[in-house]
Symmetry: C2
Subunit: 184 residues, 2 copies
Amino acid sequence: MTMRSRDAQTILRHWREAVPNDRLAHLVKDATRALVRALQVRLAEHKVSFGHWAFLRILWERDGLTQRELSNLAGVMEPTTFTALKAMERLGYVLRRRVNGDRKKVYIFLTPKGRLLKRELVPLAEAVNAIAVRGIKPADVNTTREVLLAIIGNLAQDELERDLPMPSTRALKHVGSARRRKRA
Amino acid sequence: MTMRSRDAQTILRHWREAVPNDRLAHLVKDATRALVRALQVRLAEHKVSFGHWAFLRILWERDGLTQRELSNLAGVMEPTTFTALKAMERLGYVLRRRVNGDRKKVYIFLTPKGRLLKRELVPLAEAVNAIAVRGIKPADVNTTREVLLAIIGNLAQDELERDLPMPSTRALKHVGSARRRKRA
DNA sequence: GCTAGTATCTTAGATATCTAAGATTATGCC
DNA sequence: GGCATAATCTTAGATATCTAAGATACTAGC
């Protein structure tokens, strides 16, 4: 299958030739795909799925978090988290436990097995990152970081504004209690 | 459901606080999610799915392309294209036709209905883009573009190198005939 | 002109993600 | 204390994507 290699080439040529102003989204998406794929193939060699990586990563820093908290940190919705953690539990990477106190919450703990993956997997992510930014000026990478953050911020802000029934500036102060506008 | 708004806030805080060096991938992915979601909600108001957008976009520029060509241009694999175009055919946006000549190929043509969507949908993408880059220096946006392109290029290059049985520099010249290494 | 290989589309099945809504537990107000 | 509301997890079902492999049509070399 020659396909994927040719694809990469084609995509690149495509972008180099014409990048109209309103295709930043497409470009960012292609970059994500490239990054994700690079990490994915490496993780696969260690039998870890990309979907689990995001949670492992957070848990290595600190476990005993709830699913809700993990969702927020990973930036995904709860069903995604739920499914991933169930699978990870089956694989023996984590334990899911309700503790005394708020019995709604499910706390997630790494098993030794899950913890051991860290030493194995983190280098893979570092390798992908190193490859990705090879030959790019660090200052430009930083600029990119800032720009992406600003974009995320702008869109989050916009989403809030679209949510508010009364689109006044003052209303933004009360963001914490904002309610989603129901969409068709 | 207050969730999504809080999520956005949480994600942002998260990123502003600590962006370790090897999480560029995560950041790019979050940006993609934000951009995609912004466009998605707008497209949904016009009953168009995000998955179809990418193909419409290409077809508005030029139709009569094959599925293979569309896949390459959209940067997705063929089953994705196939599924999307089948759905779009059902919706009456495109026709799929084999023509005399190479009867393997399926050529895609916009219907008038599909063509009319352009005027309706392009402004949505432009709006999202405008919101996304609001307040960001155009020069920085350009830098970001360049960096993302370079990243895509670096990773494409790396993928090729991983594919080649003999990882020599010279081998890269023969990229066109490169064969995928079989992965476990 | 047959056969082997290649190109293209298609099918099948997996993964990652989402929204919407259901179930359970906690909280707060009367 | 009991009911309404909120928080959290869970289920259900949809979408977008992928890989692997099957089916069909073309091409080239003998």
